[in-house]
Amino acid sequence: MRGRSELDRFLETDPRDVGCEEAMEFLHVYVELIADDPQAGDRYPGITAHLRACGPCSDDFEGLLAAVDSSAS
């Protein structure tokens, strides 16, 4: 049943999740690491876990990554 697994995923929390404040504090550093190596997120599980769970911070991450990419091209 799709709804059950969706609800389960939504309710699941990751204690490594650093929260918005810390993730955003280091967002510029994290973005440059990911821009250089897309697998770099594995080394920073706290921020990666947060971006996976927080839509607004994930939006900021995607936007900053796009900005960095557009500036590099």
């Binding site: 049943m1 999740d17 440059e32 706290g46 839509g55 607004p56 900021d60 900053l64 900005a67």
Partner: protein, 224 residues
């Protein structure tokens, strides 16, 4: 080497604390003579506006804003990012390129302004409580109602019994009413981190309650 320790997320290692030449030039000119500073501010504002326009355009698919209003939002975001960058210039530690650090403030301002726009022009009530919406939020199929009815009722009970009043309000706004988190920030006069933390704790408590009451089979969450 400088490392910023993260309580739960490991460390971000700053491998090259030396400013790259372009970032150093930005800092020098923004802290230079009045003429140098003004020229640098004009140049930086141009970059911020380009990034803000790109970002509002990237997000516009989810918004009911278009045309001049969207461009006005980009202008406001770029201007306010410029103010924030100028005020926080001394906090730039060279952990990234200067422009990446600066563009981060554009993202924050775009998010804040979109959140406020949604708050001022809501297409949903923040506080209405219609539990009939919940099945659709999670993709429960009407044809399978006999299989999920008890689970949804159990979730409703858990929301009533285990959440604080504030957690309940935030859960209802975000989950039942689909209010964007940044719009709720504007509504409650709070900040993103505080709202997210309340929702994080609510999710953990609700899942534990559903496991305890047998609605979810095992507790696979990493939380305690």
């Amino acid at each position: 080497m400088k490392a910023a320790d993260s309580a739960m997320g490991g460390a971000i290692e700053i491998l090259n604390p030396t400013l790259d030449p372009v970032s150093a030039e930005w800092l020098n000119s923004l802290g230079g003579t009045e003429a140098e500073r003004k020229a640098a501010q004009i140049k930086l504002h141009g970059l911020l506006l380009r990034i803000a326009r790109g970002e509002v355009s990237r997000r516009s698919g989810h918004l009911r804003i278009a045309g001049p209003e969207l461009d006005d939002l980009a202008h406001q975001a770029a201007a306010d990012a410029m103010v924030a960058i100028t005020a926080k210039l001394g906090q730039f530690r060279g952990e990234s390129r200067f422009t990446t650090w600066a563009y981060k403030f554009v993202m924050f301002e775009v998010s804040t302004k979109i959140g406020r726009h949604v708050w001022r022009n809501p297409n949903q009530s923040m506080d209405a409580e219609d539990w009939d919406r919940l099945p659709d939020r999670f993709g429960f199929e009407p044809a399978e109602e006999s299989e999920w009815r008890d689970l949804v009722a159990g979730l409703h009970r858990a929301v009533d019994e285990v959440l604080t009043e504030r957690q309940r309000r935030i859960f209802v706004a975000i989950v039942l009413n689909g209010v964007p988190l940044d719009a709720l920030v504007a509504e409650l006069g709070s900040n993103r981190n505080a709202i997210y933390k309340s929702m994080f704790d609510a999710r953990r408590k609700l899942r534990a309650a559903l496991v305890t009451n047998g609605y979810l089979e095992t507790d696979t969450s990493r939380g305690s």
